[in-house]
Structure formats: structure tokens, C-alpha cells
């Protein structure tokens, strides 16, 4: 009896060790990402036939995707979602609250047909998800208290207390670029970070300027926060669709072009995110936009 127990412990230890070793080196291979959707599965067909779409949006990002206490969604991502769904022929939209870590999983499981949730297009994600758009180019930026002028660019973060989000590319970028030179803490949500900033425990919050602007625009934060406006990356927001849905990508791209053209894109932007510069709409299909100062 004793030896089989020892064997069980040894087996568990070996399995854990194997996991760690397999994680060293190359990223874990994508599993089953290659199946392309047959014509019946495209989001374009679903919108036309079922007239209903399930769309994943963020529930906790003011100005982009925010769910209020009565369950209503608002924000720029939400407005884009409504416009596209409308153009595709759907009359009913079910918004599904989606956190950053769920976006690929929800698409792969079919829980949502489309994801518009501050979803940056990266090469890694393109292996498992098909992107339409982009519909906005955000930039990593810094949020500080209104009277603080000591932080004007990314290098000024050195030696300061900074907050970012767990699992965010912005936080990863700071860690990789500055390491321990920046006193960084990563909390689960940006709401927590903003509270830390307002309370004085940190001097800056860093993530996409859209997210920062959304918090700065909230009524309770009026006049207290300032988006520095020093862009140090390009975050290319795309619309996530199930991998292989080329028909859907085309349909959504066309809807986006219409939105850029008839002015609704710009008016949604100025309504939801007044702090961000109302830039010209991005070039559809251009996913690789290297950052220039």
C-alpha cells in the first residue's frame, strides 16, 4: 500500500515537471486551429438566417464596453458591434460579457459569433482567430493624476510606482522593456489600478489610451485624471471571428467601410471617448503597422 502511494506522488511530480519543461522554449502548439468553417457556419449566414448574433464585448471598460446595473451595454466597441450587426442583417444582438482571457476560447467554442473587446491583433492570435478590421488604432499610453507633470513619456516611469493589468500586453511590454527599473504592480482590473492612482499608492497607470480615456471620462473622475498622450506602441483593435470564416471577414470589412464612410465611426468615437484624438479611420486589412515615434 505504501509503495503505490509513493508511486502516485512520484507520478504527479513527474507530470508537473513535464508540464514545466514543455512550457520552456517554444509556445504550446495550436490545437485544431486549422479547420475552416464551411459555408453554413459563417457569421454572415448566421446574421441573415437567424437574425440574431452573439457578440462578445467587455463589461468593465468605461467608454469601450461597459455594462451598467440594469444590464445595458454602452461604449465604442458596443456601438461598432451594433452597426456591424445591423449591416449584416441581424435584428437581435446578445451581448456576452467577455474578459481578455476568454476571447479565443469563446470564439472557438462558438459561444460568440464575433468579438469586439479591445482585441489587439497579434501574430499569435491570428493563428487561432480570424480578424476583420482593424476598426481602431490605439496606443499604449500613461494615465496620471491631473496635477502631476513629472511623467511625460515612457522613460519617466523608471523608479516610479506604476500599475497595469494582469494578462495585458501593456504590462508585458513594461516588464520586458524596463524590468525592475519600473516599480510595477499588476492587478486584475484597470478599475483597481485607477483606484490606486486616485488614492496615491501609484503614480501612473499604463495601458491602451482608449481604456485610460474611458476612465478619465467617467463622471466621478472628472478633472482628476489626465491621459499623458505619449504613445509608445500601436494596439491594432480588430474584430475577432471564428478561424477560417473568410466570408465573414469580407462581410464585416464591408460593414466597417460603410461605417467609416457615413460618419458614424467618427461620431461614435467622439461620443464615447472624447479624450482620444479623433484620428482618421484605419486602413482595413492592414494588420502590420510598425510603430514609429
Amino acid at each position: 500500500m505504501r509503495s503505490s502511494r509513493m508511486a502516485a506522488v512520484a507520478g504527479a511530480a513527474a507530470a508537473a515537471l513535464a508540464l514545466v519543461l514543455s512550457a520552456c522554449g517554444s509556445d504550446s502548439g495550436t490545437s485544431g486551429g486549422g479547420t475552416s468553417t464551411s459555408s453554413g457556419n459563417s457569421i454572415a449566414d448566421k446574421a441573415k438566417n437567424d437574425k440574431t448574433l452573439n457578440i462578445g464585448v467587455k463589461p468593465d471598460q468605461p467608454g469601450l464596453g461597459l455594462q451598467n446595473s440594469s444590464g445595458q451595454y454602452s461604449g465604442f466597441d458596443v456601438d461598432v458591434a451594433r452597426y456591424i450587426a445591423n449591416k449584416l442583417g441581424a435584428t437581435k444582438i446578445n451581448f456576452v460579457p467577455t474578459l481578455s482571457a476568454n476571447r479565443e476560447a469563446f470564439l472557438q467554442q462558438g459561444k460568440v459569433n464575433m468579438v469586439i473587446a479591445t482585441y489587439s491583433i497579434t501574430e499569435e492570435r491570428q493563428k487561432v482567430v480570424s480578424f476583420a478590421g482593424p476598426y481602431y488604432i490605439a496606443h499604449q499610453d500613461i494615465l496620471v493624476r491631473a496635477g502631476d507633470s513629472s511623467i511625460k513619456q515612457a522613460d519617466d516611469l523608471k523608479g516610479k510606482k506604476v500599475c497595469s493589468g494582469q494578462g495585458s500586453a501593456s504590462g508585458d511590454r513594461i516588464e520586458e522593456q524596463y524590468g525592475s527599473a519600473v516599480n510595477l504592480i499588476r492587478l486584475p482590473g484597470y478599475g483597481d489600478c485607477v483606484n490606486q492612482l486616485l488614492g496615491g499608492q501609484v503614480q501612473a497607470v499604463t495601458t491602451d489610451n482608449t481604456i485610460l480615456a474611458g476612465f478619465a471620462a467617467q463622471s466621478q473622475n472628472q478633472g482628476k485624471l489626465k491621459v499623458v498622450g505619449t504613445f509608445f506602441s500601436n494596439e491594432i483593435y480588430g474584430i475577432g471571428l471564428k478561424k477560417g470564416d473568410t466570408k465573414g471577414v469580407t462581410a464585416v470589412d464591408n460593414a466597417l467601410r460603410a461605417m467609416f464612410k457615413d460618419g458614424s465611426w467618427k461620431s461614435a468615437l467622439t461620443k464615447d471617448l472624447p479624450q482620444v484624438p479623433a484620428e482618421t479611420p484605419p486602413t482595413i486589412g492592414k494588420f502590420d503597422i510598425p510603430f514609429e515615434q
Partner: protein, 217 residues
Amino acid sequence: MRSNGHTILLAFWTTVKVSALSAAGSLVFGTILAAMRVAPLPVLRTVGTLYVNILRNTPLTLIILFCGLGLGSIITVAEVQTTNYFWLAVFGLVAYTSAFVCEVLRSGVNTVPLGQAEAARSIGLSFIQTLRIVVLPQAFRAVIAPLGSVLIALIKNTTIAAAIGVPEAFYTMRNQLQSHGDSVIPIFVGYALFFIVLTLPTGLLFGWLAKRWTVTW
């Protein structure tokens, strides 16, 4: 990108550190609380009872958030933020777990025959001496198995520290889920296995100790 394996190992090590430090602190403070609850002084008994009832019945998530974001706004333990929240998390875990250690130990104290405490008193031992020399050693031996359960719960509870930014296993798992959203199941299984590797030997150890120290009448 930095080596995944290195980050994971660092996270696992942080979990082990938080667990070990919290376990040590809870054992010490839990014993003190148990002593307070059986003390002859009513004040001590009241304070001990109040503490245990409040801490045992408050969700650990609230306690950790309070320590990190509430206490953290008033006191700063270390300059580096991750270290600061590391210690605040340990503090919160100790505050919570010692209530459970206290209750477990108290039931152990109750298994020690009253005659022993009376005999100790009659040979002139003080309260503290009675506890230290006669009662507590026997109490510990009697409840070593439930103490093991409390320790296992503590190891798993360390994941809550991620809510205040401590870079332990769950925090790292969340980061990995973000960048590898296609391998959700293997990631979950891997981290669950890690915790089993921590808790299973602990349970076995305490079970073995319990058998070894079985109180026979």
C-alpha cells in the same frame, strides 16, 4: 518573450514562499489565540473569541482585498510593490488561517484529560507552563490530522493573493491564458497538478504523523 518556463518556476516558488510563511505565522498566532481562548483571564477569552468569530466568518477574498487595497493605502511594508503586496497577502492569510488553527487546537486541548491540568496546577505550574509542558504537546499530537487539512486549505488559498498582484501561480496562469487562449485545458490541468504536487505530500505527511502519534488510552 522571456522564457515561459522561468516565469512559471518563479511563480511556483512564490506560491511555496507564501504558503510556508503563512503556515509558520498561522501556527504561531493560532497557538497564541488558542491559549487566549482557554486562559483564566476573561478579557483574553473574550478577545480571542471575538477575533476567531470575525475572522472565521469573513470571506478570505474580502480579507486579502482589505489587506492589499485598504491597509496597503495606509502602510507600506516595502518599496518594491510586488514585495509590499506579498507581505500584505501573507499578513492577511495568517490573520485568516490562525483562526482555524486556533479552533482545531482548542478541540485538541479538550481531549487532554482535565486531571492533567489539575495535576499540573497542584505541583505549582503556572498557566503558561501548564500549556507549554503538559497540555499543548498532547493537544498537537491529538489534532495533527485536522491541522494538515488546514494547511492544505492554506496552500490552495494562496491563489487569492493574485487579486492584489502577488505574482504567484494563479496570477501567472491568468497571464498565460491571455496569451495562449487556445490551450486553456492543458494550462488548467498543469496548474492543478502543481497544486496537487504541493498538497498531496503534505496530506500524506500529516497522515503519517497522525498515525505515529495516535493517542492511545
